[in-house]
């Protein structure tokens, strides 16, 4: 059995097209088999609604009088990129407001714009003979500007990872707030409704494919950046007219201590041209796997404790290292379902026709890492010898070592060199001021540490976050192998 785009569009025109969502397709194929499903179902709709950081919009304001050629410009205090002609700009969703910082960003500007709210435009220029205006401070709404084009270089990840945190502190990441010691887990992606997962070989998806985007009609204009089809991390480059879109499907979001982003609603119709597509669109959450990734290790290649399917991810608790870990999504399945249902209605009502792509997405591109021309430095490259006192020593010994070695930090260990604590010159001063004589009164026992193979930037961030100036370097047995201080980092 095969069908063509023309046959399906003819059915849409006649009002007898059969459309189901990818979630409904699972049961249809299970009950009636692939052959019958392929004959009866014409289109399967998909949907996803989640944070998509590679999103933004091109805007054109028209010319001022006298004209201005922007050098820098801000929309509601969020800087937009200007490197095009006089009054074009690109507002990216992760750019933070200069004023509200983490609470408002480019994603919120886009949501407010689509909601019809007035946006404040401030800009300046170095001025030219043809563009003499030096500064502008004005306001506009979506209706009052020329073009407003949502242009997202990377959307609709085929699947996404599930993040956990093995470290001993809470982490604030692009996958939300991750509690220490595997305290929780976050994942993203719509699972069985995920657009690219329903056509994983991109038979029907490519340049020119008409899609649901932000509540309006949009188009795929190519593979997204970092498109990595061989490991099921395909992505899409999409565009659409903001003027047709709805703030319900474009929502600005702020992740604590991470930054802002934009929730984008996106849905793709998949024409059931053959039995293969009927089978692929019947994929269930249980058949879609992703990796659990440990964000406790701040490196590009993070440990992956295990594989997991979307069925388990959606079950509120996942199993990890024999422990039940509470798990939740960062993307909304409720809205993903609503998008698939809306797209289904559009097709049934004859408002949306399907088209073959001019070119399908590549299936063999590789996502390469960044080329770095300078070698990254590790703690082992910069550490110095630690000055050690044993935990039975008196304060005078510590004070003498501080003076002799001209160092502010003395590491306290037991006789086997196991880390027991740290004492600073300030602690010793405090002891004298308050008449303390026992090491136990001044020692800091909960010490923030580093290891030989930690990149210098990770150690630096630990010092900054904890407002301290030195970290003992320890090995896996908690034995002290050195010390790194802020002086080495300068």
């Amino acid at each position: 059995m095969t069908k063509t785009y023309n046959e399906i569009n003819e059915k849409i025109k006649n009002g007898d097209v059969v459309v189901v969502t990818a979630e409904q397709m699972i049961n249809i194929v299970e009950d009636q088999g692939i052959k019958v499903a392929a004959e009866e179902i014409d289109v399967v709709t998909t949907g996803t609604f989640g944070p998509m950081c590679s999103s933004g919009a091109f805007l054109n304001f028209g010319h001022a009088d006298p004209p201005i050629k922007f050098e820098h410009l801000w929309l509601n205090d969020v800087q937009a990129y200007h490197g095009n002609a006089a009054v074009d700009c690109y507002i990216g969703c992760t750019r933070l407001s200069d004023v509200k910082r983490f609470k408002y960003g480019g994603g919120h500007v886009i949501e407010d714009l689509v909601a019809g709210k007035p946006i404040r435009l401030r800009g300046n220029s170095y001025t030219t003979d043809c563009y003499p205006l030096a500064e502008i401070d004005t306001e506009f709404t979506l209706d009052e500007i020329n073009q407003a084009i949502l242009l997202n270089p990377r959307n609709a990840y085929q699947r996404y990872v599930c993040a956990v945190n093995s470290s001993d502190r809470t982490l604030y990441t692009h996958l939300g707030k991750l509690l220490p010691h595997f305290g929780n887990a976050h994942y993203a992606g719509a699972g069985c409704l995920s657009p690219l997962s329903n056509d994983p070989d991109y038979e029907t998806i490519g340049i020119g494919t008409r899609i649901f985007l932000g509540g309006g009609i949009g188009y795929i204009i190519g593979e997204g950046t970092q498109h990595s089809p061989t490991n099921q991390f395909g992505t899409l480059f999409v565009k659409g007219d903001l003027k047709q879109m709805s703030p319900e499907y474009l929502r600005g979001v702020s992740y604590e201590q991470y930054g802002t982003s934009l929730f984008v609603g996106l849905g793709i119709p998949i024409p059931i041209l053959n039995e293969g597509l009927a089978k692929k669109t019947a994929i269930s959450d249980a058949e879609l796997f992703t990796d659990i990734v440990d964000y406790g290790i701040p490196r590009r290649d993070r440990p992956k404790p295990r594989r997991i399917n979307y069925e388990e991810l959606k079950g509120e608790y996942i199993e990890l290292n024999g422990k039940k870990v509470k798990c939740s999504s960062l993307s909304s399945f409720y809205h993903a379902r609503k998008i698939a249902e809306t797209l289904k209605e559009w097709i049934q009502d004859g408002k949306f026709y399907l088209n073959p792509p001019a070119e399908t997405l590549p299936t063999d591109t590789v996502f390469k890492p960044m080329k770095q021309t300078t070698k990254i430095k590790f703690v082992k490259d910069l550490k110095r010898n630690a000055i050690i006192c044993h935990d039975d020593c008196d304060l005078k010994t510590i004070a003498e070592k501080i003076i002799d070695q001209n160092l502010n930090h003395i590491i306290i260990t037991d006789l086997e060199n196991t880390l027991k604590g740290i004492v600073t010159s300030f602690d010793v001063t405090k002891a004298i001021a308050r008449d303390k004589t026992d090491l136990n009164d001044i020692i800091t026992k909960k010490v923030i540490t580093t290891t030989d193979n930690e990149p210098i930037d990770v150690a630096t961030r630990k010092m900054k976050l904890n407002n301290i100036s030195a970290l003992p370097v320890i090995d896996e047995l908690n034995k002290v192998t050195g010390l790194i201080t802020s002086e080495e980092l300068i």
Partner: protein
Amino acid sequence: MTIINCMLPFGLVKDFDDYSKIVNDILKHDITFNILKFSTGSNGINLLIDIPEDKTKTITESLKQNNIVVNKKGRVIIDDEKCIDCGACISLCPTDALHLDKEERLKFYYEKCIGCLLCLSACPRFAIEEM
């Protein structure tokens, strides 16, 4: 005697030693008390204790200083206009007061909330507010 419910949610634990704080803090007050229920789970530690009425205030206050949540109920409200049903708050909730219903929409169970406020900053839409 008064029964109080102490909870040390996992997200507020900086160190595993913190778990001993609940009992140590109560012991400081030199009193006899009954432990009615002691439970640990992946969400934290929970203790139901029966303490003398006249000591309730001092004990409660010293527990609170160590991030221990005492006897609190329903201290947050969800703004449905701002909520996008993503679920980012759910994994942070130590008592299942926040979860998705059958339609995958966020539901808040006031009676289960202990007011730890861990969910507040986890919401990317600022839809959760302290009451």
